[in-house]
Amino acid sequence: MNDDFLGGLRGQPTPEFKAQLRERLRRQEEGADTSMNYEDLPVRTSRRPWPFLAAGVLAAAVVALVVSPALRASASAFLEMFRVRRFAAIPVDPARLERLESGTIDLKGLLADNTDTIQEPGPPQFFSSVASAGFAAGFPIRVPAVPPSGMAVDTVTVRGGGEARFTARTTKLREVLDALGLIDVTIPPGLDGAQVGVRTSPSVMVRYQSEKRRIGLYQSRSPEVSLPPGVDLAQVGEIGLRIAGLERADAERFARSIDWHSTMLVPMPTNAGSFREVDVRGNKGLLLTTRGEPDPSGNPGREGSMLMWAEGDMVYALRGNVDSDNLLEMAITLQ
């Protein structure tokens, strides 16, 4: 038997469809329909705004990049405790995030009071070219083959590597949990005094800019983390998920399904936008789209998109006030 049967589904689109779509594209080419929404075609696809990510999540907090400068310091320190292989998102309650940011919960002190800095990354250094920045960073910098339309490189900066050691203090953690009313959370008995070593590599940020649009391309080797034996990452991660606002059952379920050694969690406030998993040249990436709506305090939100993915031992992120397709296009043409 030959494989002719496998051609049984192949066919031509109907002439009506071909003509209709070509006409719409032609109008777009002529600029007469640049704002055309393809959803005016009879699209019957099912779109879920909050796709469930079965692969699991990790208790870190890139949420700071989306909503909160206050959380950024503690969040970035926490997320660097992993060798990142993939990103995943989880919707979280914005009220909890607001509470964490309010200053009444000493989340930052959880890490800052127990950190021994071995090497400071130092301030970002400016470079006049991508090539010289790559030389300083110690890895070849990749840039998109197709530049963002109408945009040019504005600045290229390199931030040095860093190294720090964190000592877990369960009394401080207990204070945070109690302040949040999480009295049912059990802290692993062996956690107090455990030391976690974190070493980050130099990172490069290439910023593109036009009159109204900005895009930042971040790239770095994945951070390296040394953990003491016996630390149950899933249990610690579950605590992180509870702090982020997940119910006990959800936190337990997520914590047990995640590869905590390689997955970076991106908590996404449910009122801030949407996320979806995308493919970036065979690697799973996470694409966030924020709506730019003001938060409950009336502060303006950030409208735009952010794409994160890992390739080999490198981690990449693109962020800007542009359409998510623009970021995806840049990502797949990096060279």
Binding site: L6, R24, L25, V130
Partner: protein
């Protein structure tokens, strides 16, 4: 800033001067590929039309940047199509399962049997049973009619892996097809 401009130009504009884009020709070439990719990937002609329109709509917005590099534009189309298929498949998984359950459990009328015997219907049902990755590779191979090398570039798999997975999947489909033939002969 001439030096910086030169660096940027050398990195961002590596393609050579070439013919201007013929969008009609490009549309004629890629439309059947994208449409048939979705036919194999999703099974439903209406969904295939919807997602084909969505794919071209998104890609067309960036067409100016590919005016002199049409090969890259094809890759951009395939990437959009791939991601749209993944999104669509996730959203519809539950519904497809229910449809299949109804088909399996329902009493077959002579008309149903007639429809089932059509090659397209049979192939659609066999493809629905494949894991996502295998189905996607079959869609690129037999829907879009891409080479293993092209599929490797899109999927991120090695060319050797693409060949191995396709060989195994085709063998499995052939065996299932023959089994159905035998069932119908009884």
């Amino acid at each position: 800033m001439a030096t910086r401009d030169n660096v940027i130009r050398s990195r961002f504009l590596p393609w050579q001067e070439s013919r201007e884009a013929d969008w009609d020709a490009l549309y004629a070439e890629h439309l059947p590929q994208i449409y048939n990719f979705f036919r194999y990937r999703l099974g439903n002609p209406a969904d295939a039309e919807d997602l084909t329109a969505e794919t071209f709509g998104r890609a067309w917005r960036a067409r100016d940047r590919y005016r002199r590099d049409l090969g890259a534009f094809g890759g951009w189309l395939f990437t959009i199509a791939r991601n749209l298929a993944v999104d669509h498949y996730r959203g519809r998984r539950e519904m497809v399962s229910l449809e299949m359950a109804a088909e399996i459990s329902g009493g077959a009328t002579p008309e149903d049997l007639s429809v089932r015997r059509s090659n397209a219907e049979r192939l659609t049902r066999l493809l629905e049973r494949l894991p996502e990755r295998e189905r996607e590779l079959i869609a690129w191979k037999f829907g879009a009619e891409l080479s293993n090398q092209e599929i490797a570039r899109i999927s991120g798999l090695t060319q050797s892996n693409v060949g191995t997975i396709l060989h195994r999947t085709i063998k499995q489909l052939r065996e299932e097809w023959l089994k159905e033939d035998k069932r119908h002969e009884r």
